[in-house]
Symmetry: C2
Subunit: 243 residues, 2 copies
Amino acid sequence: MRPKIVLFGDSITEESFREGGWGAALANHFTRTADVVLRGYSGYNTRWALRAIERVLGAEGVGGGGGGEGVVAVTVFFGANDAAVHDRVSAFQHVPVDEYKLNLRSIVSFVKKRWPEVVIILITPPPIDVEGRLREPYNKTSGLPDRTNEAAGAYAKACISVAGECGLPVIDLWSRIQQLDDWEKSCLRDGLHFTCIGNDVLFKEVVDTLGKESVSLETLPVDLPLSSEMYPNDPLKAFESQI
Amino acid sequence: MRPKIVLFGDSITEESFREGGWGAALANHFTRTADVVLRGYSGYNTRWALRAIERVLGAEGVGGGGGGEGVVAVTVFFGANDAAVHDRVSAFQHVPVDEYKLNLRSIVSFVKKRWPEVVIILITPPPIDVEGRLREPYNKTSGLPDRTNEAAGAYAKACISVAGECGLPVIDLWSRIQQLDDWEKSCLRDGLHFTCIGNDVLFKEVVDTLGKESVSLETLPVDLPLSSEMYPNDPLKAFESQI
């Protein structure tokens, strides 16, 4: 049975199988070695994620039917919605930063209890380009952005702190993206969601982080013989050692 | 638990999560409604597929641990390798057309026995652009293409015939692609594998065919409340009816 890598997060996870998306790139990278299971929920914050987690990752969720076998890694990628400004148009998504930390810890605890050996990677929210946010129709009435880069940074810091407490690897996407030239436009298409370049940054960070935790093409077995391993005169022979 | 759509095939399936790929596009299309499970094996013909099918789709395969619950559809997409010319460089992949038909029938029987209610879609091999094949390094020594469009057409016809006998929907990709202008270059990048345009043709055909078999965004339930369904003053209320 193939190992599974579960992507649990908000819209940036839900849309990760669009053209150039980081989720599809992961599925392609692990094409013969692991299944990438998409569990992205657009608009969700950690409060809603916690409300849904039993159904998403519990006994009837991923793996299903009491199973869930083979899950080797889970990415937990929330915060972009928690960090929505508390008194603006996306206020209903806002979660205070202290609750965000508590919720993240609870999500980690749930995953650890379900799969004690699993690799959990926390991913911070990305930075925000306010100009991009202001182009969104629902921000135009007030003229005030629903998200700010300072708030995203505070939640990124909180996420890194939870990862430290829990001893987990973390991808500091907020800082990583801001290292790139013209990141506001090159990496973000609407001030929040990724362009192909932004997607590629996250894809590479996830592959690197998984690799450091021994989840890589080098460590995972390939499912069934490769055609390059077939004996030209007796191709079926290659199956003998594997099946 | 989310329904699963399994893609079983050769390299055109294995690489279907590359940028612009038909598999990734399906996963994105069904992002909150179904899991798309990738089971592509580069270079495989129906003979090898049949040798591997118990491991791929059997009790320890997709779904795993005796499960396999929730599989609603399987695409079966072989023939491009079976149709390799029998006395040229890819001869080790060749399977005679009569055996191809028998093997396809056996694959269909296996899937029907495992999941009696599942939608099975047969996909014919794509057409071949010989010029594109001749640019491949391993065809340069002999100067003869390893695949021809006539052979692909014969296997496509055989695939359609098996679908008819078994009462299954079939995507006649060999004919469909050849309806497009400049299909040799617009749809195929090496005379066999798809460009983004070729991928998009197949993606749309699969969505259409699944839809006719009642596997669509209209019939599948959405996993968890959409953020547009949240009550602004009491977002968690939306979960009450679902969890």
